[in-house]
């Protein structure tokens, strides 16, 4: 019989190595899957992981997709460290995109330097407002934020659908469910000619630095950490649980909202029925692969972004279904959780008494 046993002293090195080993195992399993699908595995790997990075444009795309993943994951990680399980970054992202776009559409076609900053601010506030709902329900009625934040994702998507099919549909858009295209002054400026890299990635990296500063240096960050590690100690010290829940959810919402407006005012350029290929959900994996640490999250979001790109490339070159991206994401999370289990536990063979 096999039995799981807690290790006396989990290895520190293994804690850091676990995400890397998980990524390695993901590659190995991918190798097997490609083989079974009848694709030459090495060639498939090249298509998936090398080809997207072999051009300037490809590298640019990597950063374009990294920005929303990084933003969402940073916000989520602050909550996760405090035992606040915001699963609804995807919904907060959508509402952020809606709120920011609303500012642009309400302002009209007159050029102004203030439109873009106002859109970004509205995006962050929109995400916060959406995250405030689970925060209120949790602090007022002790409702699980896991359920409420997740369900609000679908509400947000229907809300988006309503606006692009209804009031915000472009009257000159041949009845397509889209808003009008945003003007240059309503879009995030490009950083590198010939790519789609825009200011969003700079924001995301700045937020990474801020989040590191917040968790490592501020008293509020410390209070959230204590609430996550030892809730009773937080109560004893008088750190208000309500304040922590609000703070964690509002930060997560603001980051996701910013990611949302960054998408519509960036690579998409208008409101569409879909503004994210699941960045808000993938960010949950990114946060854990990155060990809830700012630097780790930066690296993990690059990897996740590569999985998105590789998945697209594999659809084009290898005629693989789009599910391949989700498959690799799932593998990565699965192996990470398994690795984590083995860092704290070990298997022992025991004879039945």
């Amino acid at each position: 019989m096999l039995r799981l046993e807690r290790r006396a002293q989990p290895s520190r090195a293994m804690r850091v190595l676990a995400p890397l080993i998980a990524a390695l195992l993901m590659f190995v399993t991918g190798f097997v899957i490609f083989t079974v699908l009848g694709k030459a595995p090495l060639a498939a790997f090249e298509v998936f992981f090398v080809k997207p990075l072999s051009s300037m444009y490809g590298l640019g795309e990597l950063l374009v997709k990294t920005a929303p993943l990084l933003l969402c994951a940073l916000g989520l990680a602050i909550g996760f460290r405090a035992n606040v399980w915001n699963i609804g970054a995807e919904g907060q992202l959508v509402v952020g995109a809606l709120a920011g776009s609303g500012v642009a559409l309400a302002w009209g076609e007159t050029e102004s330097h203030w439109v873009l900053p106002a859109m970004l601010l509205a995006g962050a506030l929109g995400g916060m407002a959406w995250a405030a709902i689970p925060a209120f329900l949790r602090t007022r009625f002790r409702t699980s934020e896991i359920l409420t934040s997740l369900m609000l994702v679908y509400v947000a998507q229907l809300l988006l659908s309503y606006f692009v099919h209804g009031p915000w549909r472009d009257p000159e858009g041949f009845n397509f469910p889209q808003s009008r295209m945003f003007n240059d002054w309503e879009l995030l400026p490009l950083l590198v000619e010939g790519t789609r890299v825009n200011l969003g990635i700079v924001f995301a990296l700045a937020v990474a630095a801020l989040s590191w500063f917040f968790t490592e240096k501020t008293y509020a960050g410390y209070r959230l950490q204590v609430a996550g590690l030892a809730p009773a100690a937080a109560g004893y010290a008088g750190f208000s649980e309500k304040r922590n829940v609000w703070l964690a959810l509002l930060i997560g919402g603001a980051c996701a909202g910013l990611a949302g407006i960054g998408e519509v005012a960036g690579p998409i350029g208008q409101l569409q029925p879909s503004v994210s290929p699941g960045y808000g959900f993938a960010a949950i994996i990114v946060a854990f692969v990155g060990r809830l640490h700012a630097l780790g999250i930066v690296l993990a979001s690059l990897l996740m972004s590569l999985l998105y790109l590789g998945g697209e490339q594999a659809q084009i070159d290898l005629a693989l279904p789009s599910a391949i991206t989700g498959l690799f994401q799932g593998l990565l999370l699965f192996y990470l959780l398994a690795m984590d289990a083995f860092v704290t536990w070990r298997i022992r063979r025991v004879r039945r008494a």
């Binding site: 501020t218 008293y219 004893y236 010290a237 008088g238 208000s240």
Partner: protein, 510 residues
């Protein structure tokens, strides 16, 4: 002489940086009550974990009933007939008492089948335990009873008891001793770990004293005095604490008709508690845990809100509606019963644990943590209270229970509170450290602070209290003068019978 029940030969165990046991030998005869004495960190727990199969020794041999054995797991130890009551409990909080015991029995008995046996054993040995109660609702003291009952159900031939009496009333201790003596008379050997020298002298046939991982001496406790045993244990003489009478100041902490339903369905509701603690005064509250202690502590600290703000007053001001942080800012200090997880965050360093309640001491400026200040504060606590650890970067759960307690008590005292509430100040703490903690409480009182000590250790309360009361069934007895009150009387109050209480309280109320 018969074959020894257990013989340890030259047991050594090294951890990185520490030698926990160094060539320890020990012989326990059948039917012998054998005391294992030593300060925290002397190696008692490691030695017992080796005997119980939790830890394996680096060197040395273990003989069980004359045959050499390799005890490589607790299951093996139990199969041999070794039972152990741990100081830190290994109970599942979400399960009932009977379910917990069924899990530990390695057998096929269902919880329902065990329930009557649990009732029988608990009655026979004076350890009231309800098999159907959920463990999470039980106090530390009640959980320990479950552990003892669980061991006794397994009919062991050697019973290891790690500080078993700290949570019992004096009468229950006597009852337990009767039980243990009966078990010994039935031929069961008992390894008894305790720091209570009186108990060891009353109960134990032989004592082995550990000091710094080695055998520091062997003695027949009945022929030794407390002083001589203590000296063997710490290697020097122990100065008793002194409580010099002093004039009490104004009332700093006041409870008026405090009633509080328990948040826990199995808890004890507080009923009309009146209490006043003056500056320069230590008030002790005795009682077996589970009689409202948790509820009273939560009401004092602000973790539970009370119905009317005037029920709790600090320095005359009503604070019943303030949260723990706000009360702290008004000079309130608090040492909780649970050290790990409440009084300290297990996985954080001592420096960051100093910050837990020390933010008001200049450790935070404009919302930013000042790490250098936090480290300096932690170092001050470590030095002033002799906390044994590598340095302020050590994580809290790497410290022994007693050392962590010194750290937490030290932190709260150095925050210079005007009112300090301390729960179980020296639970599981060795004699030397306990003395230091008690003296620190007395020093704080001498500086004019009001100190409330809630403890299950009567000796301790008699030693440090200016006034003494008992909490039983959610009601508080009148306060008495410990100098003119007997232990037996307090013991009766602990059973809930306040009929014999002095009328002194009515004088005070007048």
């Amino acid at each position: 002489m018969s074959t020894p029940r257990l013989a340890l030969h030259g047991i050594s165990k090294r951890y990185p940086g520490v030698v926990a046991n160094d060539g320890v030998s020990l012989v326990v005869q059948p039917g012998e009550i054998h005391a294992l004495l030593g300060e925290n960190g002397a190696g008692k727990s490691t030695l017992m974990k080796i005997v119980y199969g939790v830890t394996r020794p680096d060197e040395g041999r273990i003989e069980w009933e004359g045959r050499e054995q390799r005890i490589d797991s607790p299951a093996r130890a139990r199969a041999l007939g070794i039972g152990m009551v741990f100081q830190h409990f290994s109970l599942f909080e979400t399960l009932s008492v009977a379910e917990n015991i069924a899990l530990a029995m390695d057998g096929a008995d269902s919880p329902a089948a065990l329930a009557p046996r649990i009732r029988e054993v608990s009655e026979r040995y004076g350890l009231p335990v309800d098999p159907d109660r959920l463990v999470h609702s039980m106090s530390v003291g009640e959980r320990q009873r479950v552990e003892i009952v669980r061991c006794l159900l397994q009919a062991p031939r050697l019973l290891i008891m790690d500080e078993p009496t700290s949570v019992l009333t004096p009468q229950a201790v006597q009852q337990l001793f009767v039980t243990l003596r009966r078990l010994a008379a039935e031929g069961i050997s008992i390894l008894y770990i305790s720091h209570k020298l009186d108990e060891i002298r009353a109960l134990c046939d032989v004592a082995t004293v550990l000091r710094g991982g080695r055998v520091g001496g062997r003695a027949l406790p009945r022929e030794e005095s407390n002083d001589s045993l203590a000296q063997m244990m710490i290697g020097r003489e122990l100065a008793p604490c002194r409580l010099t009478p002093r004039e009490a100041g104004p009332v700093e902490l006041e409870l008026t008709q405090l009633s509080l339903p328990s948040a826990d369905p199995f808890g004890t509701a507080l009923q009309g508690i009146d209490l006043r603690v003056r500056g320069g005064q230590i008030v002790g509250i005795a009682g077996v845990s589970g009689n409202g202690q948790q509820e009273l502590l939560a009401a004092l600290s602000g973790e539970s809100r009370v119905a009317e703000r005037g029920m709790v007053r600090l320095g005359g001001q009503p604070v019943g509606d303030l949260d723990p942080a706000q009360r702290r800012r008004r000079g309130f200090g608090f040492v909780p019963e649970e050290r790990l997880g409440r009084g300290a965050v297990p996985s954080l360093s001592l420096a960051l644990n100093a910050l837990l309640t020390g933010a008001g001491k200049g450790l935070v400026r404009r919302g930013l943590v000042r790490p250098a200040a936090a480290r300096a504060f932690a170092r001050t606590i470590i030095e002033r209270f002799g906390v044994k650890c590598r340095d302020e970067r050590s994580v809290a759960d790497s410290l022994s229970g007693g050392n962590l307690q010194k750290f937490i008590v030290g932190r709260e005292i150095l925050l210079a509170p005007t009112v300090l509430v301390v729960a179980q100040p020296t639970w599981g703490v060795d004699v030397g450290a306990a003395q230091l903690i008690r003296q620190a409480l007395i020093d704080l009182r001498d500086q004019g602070a009001a100190v409330l000590v809630i403890s299950e250790e009567l000796d301790e309360l008699f030693e440090v209290s200016d006034r003494l009361g008992v909490l039983a069934g959610g009601r508080l007895s009148p306060l008495c003068d410990p100098a003119t009150t007997s232990v037996a009387e307090i013991g009766r109050w602990m059973a809930g019978d306040f009929g014999t209480a002095h009328t002194e309280a009515s004088h005070a109320a007048a």
